[in-house]
């Protein structure tokens, strides 16, 4: 039982990390109807920029390596980089493709993935780098001692970050003018345009926010596994989360992440040995697929009504 709980908690917490990536997808899909495949590359680029700035700042400007100033300055610079990338994407890729079918936009973001991946490695090099957030990846002592359940401090921290990020986004959506405009655009592009909401500004904001989410996700994933090219594959892991939760729902991304994370770990531990292991790679997709057969719009997605 202890083992079960340990696996379950570990899975739930890693699910939170998937949810972080899925969140970036949902934001952009909601606001612009673009299925942004480049989100994974953006996570990679953001994390690499952050680590890169952390190296460059002490070396070039004589700041003390590892200090709080360097950390936050790097964070701000990486965020600025992502904002610039988002605005450039809106201007160069999305604006000329307005009114094209969704598959064209999807393909364009795959092209964008290559560009961002190339750019990231060209600017910062392809070496695997460590990322230090100052939180150890070790079990919480009292839980371990009293109940014998190992829960990583780091995972808990990641969950906390994800929760606060979602809360922040919810506040942004609910209580600010930009947030209201965002929701209007998500509801109906044309109606939003007709009442004077500047669509392009909104898109820029969304891409910037998605860049921010990518940065946070990248930092957490990077601290976990090192900042390396494999980060781009986190995007693929986020896809079953998305279809489970529904493309258009922020809470869906979180709940989907939790379900995928937990069931993936449980399946690997309990079902995996029966068929020879390694099922983590496809199990989330199969789960999502089976789920879709029952609820085609995902858990929280908008019900799609077909009209002739």
């Amino acid at each position: 039982m202890q083992f079960f709980i340990e696996v379950l908690i570990g899975g739930l917490l890693s699910g939170v990390m998937y949810a972080l990536v899925a969140l970036g997808f949902v934001l952009i899909y909601k606001a612009s109807g673009v299925f942004n495949f480049a989100q994974g590359a953006m996570v990679f680029f953001a994390a690499l920029s952050f680590v890169g700035f952390q190296e460059v700042l002490p070396a070039r400007f004589g700041l003390e390596a590892g200090s709080a100033a360097v950390f936050w300055l790097s964070f701000l610079l990486a965020f600025a980089t992502m904002v610039v990338l988002g605005i450039a994407t809106e201007r160069i890729v999305l604006r000329p493709l307005v009114n094209q079918p969704p598959i064209t936009l999807f393909m364009a973001t795959i092209g964008l993935t290559y560009v961002v991946e190339g750019l990231a490695q060209m600017t910062w090099g392809a070496n695997v780098r460590g990322l230090e957030l100052g939180i150890m990846d070790e079990p919480i002592a009292w839980l371990m001692d009293d109940y014998g359940i190992g829960v990583s401090k780091f995972d808990l921290f990641a969950a906390g970050v994800a929760a606060s990020l979602v809360a922040l986004l919810a506040l942004l959506f609910q209580y600010t003018k930009v947030g209201r405009a965002l929701r209007a655009v998500a509801d109906d592009h044309q109606a939003a345009l007709s009442i004077g909401i500047p669509l392009q500004t909104i898109w820029r904001v969304v891409w910037a926010v998605a860049g921010f989410v990518a940065l946070v996700a990248g930092m957490i994933w990077g601290a976990r596994n090192g900042v390396q090219f494999a980060l781009t594959f986190t995007a693929l892991k986020a896809l079953p989360v998305l279809i489970l939760g529904g493309f258009t729902s922020v809470p869906g991304a979180i709940v989907g992440g939790l379900i995928i994370g937990a069931s993936e770990k449980l399946a690997e531990v309990y079902v995996g040995p029966l068929v020879g292991g390694g099922i983590e790679g496809w199990f989330p997709y199969m789960l999502a697929l089976a789920f879709l057969l029952v609820r085609p719009e995902g858990l929280f997605g908008e019900r799609h009504i077909d009209r002739v």
Binding site: F35, I92, V93, P96, L97, Q100, P102, I103, T104, F106, M107, A108, I110, G111, L112, T113, Y114, V115, V116, E117, G118, L119, Q121, M122, G125, A126, L236, L239, P240, L242, I243, F247, V275, G276, G278, I279, G281, W282, Y285, M286, A288, L289, L292, L293, P296, E297, G298, D306, R307, V308
Partner: protein
Amino acid sequence: MLYREAGQFRTSYAEDGRIFPIRQDRIGFALLLLVFGVAVPLLANEYWLKAILTPVLIFSLAAIGLNILTGYAGQLSLGSAAFMAVGAFAAYNFILRVDGMPFLLALALAGLAAALVGVLFGLPSLRIKGFYLAVATLAAQFFIVWVLVKFPWFSNYSSSGVVTAQEVVILGYAFVSPEARYVLTFAVVAVLALAAKNLVRSATGRAWMAVRDMDVAAQVIGFRLMRTKLLAFAVSSFYCGVAGALYAYTYIGTVEPEGFNLDLSFKILFMIIIGGVGSIMGSFLGAAFIVLLPILLDNLVPALFGNALGAGFVSNLQLMIFGGLIIFFLIVEPHGLARLWQIAKEKLRLWPFPH
């Protein structure tokens, strides 16, 4: 331009329904077949046959497969490489385990095996569509590759999972030289491409297009969605399966399941987008473009910037140029190269006297 269709009257339905209603087009197409079927294998050097022309043909076949599913029936798929893997490994096992299995029969059976798997993974398309379906096809991609890796029976217990394709023998003739392999590939691809062209012009193809344009409306006017969609999955997977078998037998010779990864699926998707969604011709153009572009960049980038930049820089630059070109193409001509070809043809028909 060079020819007009003036004076060529279509006096029967059979004439009206031809693929090439204009006589000059028919002659041109026959010439094209002769050039690529006879002249090229005689004249081209080994590098071109082996590394460029054969893969272009094979990828064209896979692209036709995906185009049938995505371009004609409107079901976005990201799992075409997995169906190629099914074809490749099915052909390998048929030839390995059945004594005296003729190669062409094995090729057809490989296609059928892929079609069966395709129908299985096409079942969700009855409930879900669009990006949800695209992600569902990713399940096929990962699951099939995993099965092929995990169960060593498929690779005949080869310790590394890599299988070496047996020698291709048809009627006692062994296809060993690059020329022979190219001709075999060309023959199979030409026959299947022609079949595909006719299929999409038939009632079946029209049903696919009706489903693509609006499946509810198609259902209302009496198309059976289940049959139409599953048939699209079956035919598409058949083409991908045959392409996969050819890939193993006439192109690279040794295959492993991991070679048929998501990257390959994306590549095939790029081919149909760049070539033209919903166009058989576009599948060929797109495949040629995607195969040739990296080779061109390989030669061009070092020539332009010198070798001083380092291999890592050059490969990243290539990655960026590749991605950039895809975006550029989508912006400039979202209907792909096939559309450009069509426009050029219409312009040239009237040139140089447009009025």
